[in-house]
């Protein structure tokens, strides 16, 4: 069965500093990979996705993620965080070319300090 692991429950980062959120997956084949953000009281917003091709994916709000097949990882990065980036971040996977059902990681809460 597929699983998604986000090892970091909570990360605190200073405004202007870089951010990296880790995501590892366990799946028989390379799944479709996603990062979502959930701000307090808000729904989920898609930051970026990876289906195939270039392993470095650019998303919205200055985020990028790198797919590493050898490590079964899809880590999210941002070079310089803003206070508005404080939120819950979820990594998710779905079967490749399949049924579009998402399996989510436990989430990482990001706190941004001034």
């Amino acid at each position: 069965a597929q699983s998604v692991t986000q090892p970091d429950i909570h990360i605190t980062v200073s405004e202007g500093a870089s951010l990296e959120l880790r995501c590892n997956y366990s799946y028989g084949a390379t799944p479709y990979l996603f990062w979502y953000v959930q701000s307090p009281g808000q729904g989920l917003q898609l930051l970026l996705k990876y289906f195939s091709g270039d392993t470095l994916v650019q998303g919205i709000k200055g985020f990028e993620a790198e797919f590493k097949r050898s490590q079964s990882s899809f880590n999210l990065r941002k070079p310089s965080v803003h206070w508005s980036d404080a939120a819950e971040y979820f990594c998710a996977v779905s079967p490749p070319g399949g049924d579009y059902k998402l399996s989510f990681g436990a989430g990482t809460t990001v706190t941004v300090r001034a």
């Binding site: 479709y32 996603f34 979502y36 808000q42 729904g43 989920l44 917003q45 898609l46 996705k49 289906f51 979820f90 779905s94 070319g97 049924d99 579009y100 059902k101 998402l102 399996s103 989510f104 990681g105 436990a106 989430g107």
Partner: protein, 113 residues
């Protein structure tokens, strides 16, 4: 991207009662899903809402507890039946669009007392 409206946005319900949550999409979509997010937890897929047929439920979820309707390609409802405090969660409707990209509604925050 699809615009998804969920109603109600929040509710407080008595245990033993039922609540029906509506999900309206501004365009026809093939795939619609319902997720649950328990307090402080991640999202778990409840079921796939199938247009014109019975929903497909994930392990741990049953139709008697979470009946789902999908009368057309733009609308679905999820009912949480015979509620208990353990059902207090955020329930989210999701649609697939543009090839495996899922969009989410704002969610319905349910508190059962």
């Amino acid at each position: 991207s699809a615009v998804i409206s969920q109603k109600p946005s929040r509710d407080i319900c008595q245990r033993g009662t039922s609540l029906t949550i509506q999900c309206q999409v501004d365009s026809q979509v093939t795939m619609m899903f319902w997720y649950r997010q328990q307090p402080g937890q991640s999202l778990t897929l409840i079921a796939t809402a199938n247009q014109g047929s019975e929903a497909t439920y994930e392990s741990g979820f049953v139709i008697d507890k979470f009946p789902i309707s999908r009368p057309n390609l733009t609308f679905s409802t999820l009912t949480v039946s015979n509620m208990s405090p353990e059902d207090s969660s955020i329930y989210l409707c999701s649609v697939e669009e543009q090839g495996a990209e899922a969009f989410f509604g704002q969610g319905t925050r349910l508190t059962v007392v």
